[in-house]
Amino acid sequence: MAYGPKVIDHFHNPRNVGSFEKGDTKVGTGIVGAPECGDVMKLQLKIKDNVVEDAKFKTFGCGSAIASSSLATEWVKGKTIDEVLQIKNTDIVNELALPPVKIHCSVLAEDAIRAAIADYQKKQVPG
């Protein structure tokens, strides 16, 4: 399969690879996918005053899955939680020019964003 130039760029130069401390109350962690499906994404957002200050990811998956999560970390930075939740998988598909068989990679990235936000919000509830 031939890859688009943006997928290749993100694959060879992934942005924001790494991990934050999972227990940090400012950090929301989203882990989605399953090893037997061939892709697992971990996306972490560091949030302060409702704004994503920093983001990191680690992904097990094909080049398109890595590119989708790398792109997601770029897009979420500096955005408010509400803005982040506006990011749609179709935006990722368009930006990376993903072929139909790779659309699930973008869905996974959107799911990871939502899971990370949900995890962060759960941590903010006192108790």
Binding site: Y3, P35, V40, T59, F60, C62
Partner: protein, 404 residues
């Protein structure tokens, strides 16, 4: 542009220059139809075809009259299964084969199933090996054919062909062997191994594409196959169609070279394969060999690199042509059915890479590929959440995954 290093020799092989040289006259001046009996053009083509028949027969211990030319192993397999099912329909309708066969066999069998045949697909063990006793137990009075591949094209496991042949003879059942991966690599003797039909491919043995052969036993028993290609009655009625003379000459030459160089090829190619395996295992942990550790094709190395996905690996290897059992590389989006049949977990099936060596690979290429593999696996593991979790001591099997 620099061409990638070719390590996909199970898929196809480059044409040996000696083969091309043998073919050239038949692609140019000597264009006659081998079936033309009335002039020199036909005679010289017929002579070339008969020489090729002998070269093939010598490689597998057969008689020249037992070689039928086809368009490739897929056609040979189709004729063997469908032709036998039709010809021996009065005797029975049951065929025994194996779940890890090539799709040419699996799908021919499934097609026959739709037309009233009963097919037993036997499972394999974790090394992709079929159990001869399971074949024995599957035999019924209606069984007319056993079809087993000599070596698996993905994981290289070599089946106990001689034992199965002995069983088939004992029970009076025809035995077809798909030898696309082993002809010219492993010693094949159709008589000693009790083989009644044997499918051969040209382009897997440094010959041309679009040509193959089928060995069909002529005595003890005399095997008869209904043709699937009807027409002028070529190849003793088993396969009509004007003979592909240049292709046949190439196939013959490829067989002769393979016969003469068999031990040299084995020593050289297995040396390269073992060198890559050693270099990779010295540098990386959690690399699993798929297939049988000893009973395997000497040019096959199928490895699973835990925690990194196969398609991403291939994308990371610069200028290396290999293949993967990962779902992402197949149209079906499902991981290799061969690895699944062996009980390799889907999570490991997604991480598999098949390295297929050939006589034209070099040690410098192995050095380069080893470096690429080690660098890419290391880089991708550094960005793999699974590797991170495993290093933290988390048992991935106990994690509640979300799936999708």
């Amino acid at each position: 542009m620099k061409r990638p290093i070719y390590l996909d020799n199970h898929s196809t092989t480059p044409l040996d220059p000696r083969v091309l040289e043998a073919m050239m006259p038949y692609l140019t001046d000597q264009f006659g139809n081998a079936a033309s009996r009335s002039h020199a053009f036909g005679w010289e083509s017929e002579e070339a075809v008969e020489k090729a028949r002998l070269q093939i027969a010598q490689l597998i211990g057969a008689n020249t009259k037992e070689i039928v030319f086809t368009s490739g192993a897929t056609e040979s397999i189709n004729v063997s299964l469908k032709g036998a099912a039709e010809m021996y329909a009065e005797k029975g309708n049951h065929i025994i084969t194996v779940t890890t066969e090539h799709k040419a066999t699996i799908d021919s069998a499934k097609s026959l199933e739709k037309h009233g045949c009963e097919i037993t697909f036997l499972p394999v063990d974790t090394f992709a090996m079929v159990d001869v006793e399971a074949i024995r137990a599957a035999i019924t009075p209606k069984t007319i054919l056993i079809s087993v591949m000599h070596a698996n094209n993905e994981v290289g496991t070599i089946q106990p062909i001689a034992e199965i042949g002995k069983l088939a003879k004992e029970k009076g059942i025809l035995f077809h062997v798909d030898a696309a991966q082993t002809v010219g690599k492993e010693v094949i003797d159709v008589n000693a191994m009790g083989i009644d039909m044997l499918s051969i491919s040209g382009h897997k043995i440094y010959g041309p594409k679009g040509v193959g052969a089928l060995y069909v036993r002529r005595s003890n028993p005399r095997v008869r196959l209904a043709p699937i290609m009807h027409g002028g009655g070529h190849e003793r009625g088993m396969r009509s169609g004007t003979l592909n003379v240049p292709g046949i000459v190439g196939l013959g030459m490829a067989c002769e070279i393979a016969r003469l160089d068999m031990s040299k090829d084995r020593e050289y190619v297995s040396g390269l394969r073992d060198l890559l395996h050693r270099k990779i295992c010295d540098a990386l942990d959690e690399v699993h060999l798929n297939g049988h550790p000893e009973k395997r094709l000497y040019n096959n190395l199928n490895l699973s690199f835990a925690y990194v996905e196969g398609e991403a690996l291939m994308m990371g290897f610069k200028d290396v042509a290999v293949s993967s059992g990962s779902a992402c590389t197949s149209a079906s989006l499902e991981p290799s059915y061969v690895l699944r049949a062996m009980g390799v977990g889907e999570e490991l099936a997604h991480t598999s890479i098949r390295f297929g060596f050939g006589r034209f690979n070099t040690e410098e290429e192995v050095d380069y590929v080893a470096k690429q593999v080690i660098e890419t696996v290391t880089r991708l593991r550094d960005m793999s959440p699974l590797y991170e979790m495993a290093k933290e001591g988390i048992d991935l099997k106990t994690v509640q995954w979300t799936g999708h």
